[in-house]
């Protein structure tokens, strides 16, 4: 049942479902993700980001493209190399940078670090380090949607390394048995920390989808429009009651596992090969050919990151006296809220 989507012609039209404005927005979110992460790496080197720092350099198309296909009422469990997902939903650069620096107004108010966050008001649940735990959480959301006959969908991302753990099986099986409206995005970036995929599985995990009773599709994870289109179709299937989809986004982790990792275990030629497929370069080339002034967009994004950095640096560290607060909730019910859904297909309240 697994299908392969050929890499699109870099300048060609991938899908008729994106307006030029949408395609520009996709570039914008990818630039914003890369810019924020580059800034955060600088702040890390300056000692302003405690712990370590993890980024998604080279993988921007995966989260940006797939999140762009999700409606405001859909719900997301986002992984650590998928900052773009948070940006599409509407989290601001200042709050993200404050989060990295452990500041009071970071998304977790200093309780968790790096991309371990989710703004629940925007429909996102923050990941935990035990991967892929969130596959089950997304499956449970989809279970509730189906139970209540709601036309909504859940989506979650996880890496190639995650396919080795039991929760991958439990979630895939559960979602298949109950035909749930959930999209699983397997982000195959070739390495689980230092372990190559050849040491992780004998069969490409996208092939496993069929054994759970639903389709698996391989997507060019460095093509933001292809990611959008594959996710859009998976969402259509989910809303039609046809159950889950596994999307394998084939990409490459271009940096080490985290800031401390020099990635000496990756052959240089492999990195160089993938550099030619950089998702931002590809989208920028397309748009330039379509007559878009991408330099102006870059300047605009750089200014937004400057502004966000200033704001984040001005934010205080959390008050140590609050370290034991917020363990249990008592009061009004708090649930996941609706996030931004900038795709033109949702304009006018369309779902």
């Amino acid at each position: 049942m697994a299908t392969k989507t050929a890499g699109a012609d870099p300048a060609g039209v991938v899908t008729e479902h994106l307006t030029l404005e949408d395609r520009v927005a996709l570039l914008r979110y990818m630039l914003l993700m890369r810019g924020i992460e580059e800034r955060a790496m600088n702040l890390y080197r300056q000692g302003k980001v405690p712990g370590s720092f993890y980024d998604g350099f080279g993988q921007e198309a995966v989260s940006v493209g797939s999140t762009f296909a999700m409606s405001a009422q859909d719900r997301l469990c986002i992984l650590h190399r998928d900052l773009g997902g948070h940006l599409v939903r509407g989290v601001t650069p200042a709050r993200i940078l404050a989060q990295y620096m452990g500041r009071a107004d970071g998304i977790t108010n200093g309780r968790d670090g790096n991309v371990h966050f989710g703004d629940h008001r925007l429909g996102c649940v923050g990941m935990v380090s035990m991967l892929p735990d969130m596959m089950l959480v997304a499956t449970g959301m989809a279970m509730a949607f189906k139970l209540r006959h709601e036309k909504r969908c859940a989506i979650t991302w996880f890496g190639d390394g995650s396919t080795s753990r039991g929760d991958f099986h439990e979630a895939m099986n559960w979602a298949g048995v109950q035909r749930l409206p959930v999209i699983f995005v397997l982000e195959n970036n070739q390495y689980a920390y230092s372990t190559p995929t050849t040491s992780q599985f004998a069969v490409d995990p996208v092939e496993r989808a069929a054994t759970y009773g639903f389709p698996g599709e391989t997507v060019d994870g460095n093509d933001v429009e292809a990611m959008f289109e594959a996710t859009r179709r998976a969402r259509e299937r989910a809303l039609a009651g046809d159950g889950p989809t596994l999307l394998e986004a084939v990409t490459m982790r271009m940096h080490g596992h985290a800031a401390h990792d020099d990635m000496k275990y990756v052959p240089k030629e492999q990195v160089e090969e993938w550099r030619k497929k950089d998702p931002i370069d590809r989208q920028e080339t397309r748009l330039r050919e379509a007559g878009v002034d991408t330099l102006a967009i870059r300047e605009e994004i750089a200014a937004a990151i400057e502004e966000g950095t200033r704001e984040a640096l001005a934010n205080p560290m959390p008050d140590p006296a609050t370290a034991t607060d917020r363990l249990f909730h008592d009061g009004d019910e708090i649930l996941l809220g609706d996030g931004n859904a900038p795709w033109s297909g949702f304009a006018g309240g369309a779902r």
């Binding site: 629940h120 380090s129 735990d133 959480v137 139970l147 439990e170 019910e333």
Partner: protein
Amino acid sequence: MATMTYLQAISDAMREEMRADERVLVMGEDIGVFGGAFKVTDGFIDEFGPDRVMDTPLAESGIIGTAIGAAVVGMRPIAEMQFADFISCGFDQLVNVAGKMYYRQGLPVNITVRLPSGGGFSGGPFHSQNPEAWFMHSPGLKVVAPSTATDAKGLLISAVRDHNPVIYLEHKHLYRRVKEEVEPGTYATPFTARIAREGTDLTVIAYGAMVHTALEATEDIDGASVEVVDLRSLVPLDEEAILASVRKTSKVLILDEANQTCAAGAQVAAVIADKAFEDLDGPVRRVATPDVPIPFSPPLEQALLPSVDRVKEAARELLEY
């Protein structure tokens, strides 16, 4: 008022909450058509249908993980582990996802996880455990353990209504042995201790099935007046109730059916040592199960579980101290 067993009271709590609140659903292994391994959900599927009485795959991590997902989008799942022991397979979802969610990102996880726990019936090493201390040591989880039918119902209703993850330990030994008149409809029991019997000479602190062991063992020790405190809730722990009783009697015996090291009773003993040292008139004593797995063969199992005789002997020694 109707007479109900502990088990019937648990069923009644879920049935009443499900009737009153369509967000409540029950999920677990063999709980639908079969009605559950212990028949706690017998007949539920006929009244509420298979969507709200969900037979799940045999996947404990899946049960807890999907319950979390359903909860954060507005459901109030009650997840059943077939036996408390199997929670080890769902430990990660409970401890790392559910327990830390609200602290990390301000998103509460309203799930109740029912754990049929405890030994005494040759269940062996995988069907007899009392794993409550694992969760007391995991921030963000509430842990309750009723000993009576009335509390079994009221604590479960409170657990379902609580915005936070609640581990609900139901002792298998009590299922059909304990019964009393139980209020109809719904009522919520607070997560606080109760005095199971008033007394002035000695305090015995227990929870779950050990409350009954405590009551029986101290019913008549040469006319001594023995107070029995039923903790009911382990997180939060009702320190005020514990300390008030210690101040009154000055002597304390603490019972655990769980393995001794770092059990709930160890925490109770630590609280007393820290906050009631001046009120004590004897050592804080504990009776618990030795630190070995629960064996299958009856003489081996009975040699380990705290018996009425062992408790009586410890109580007598303390009274004479």
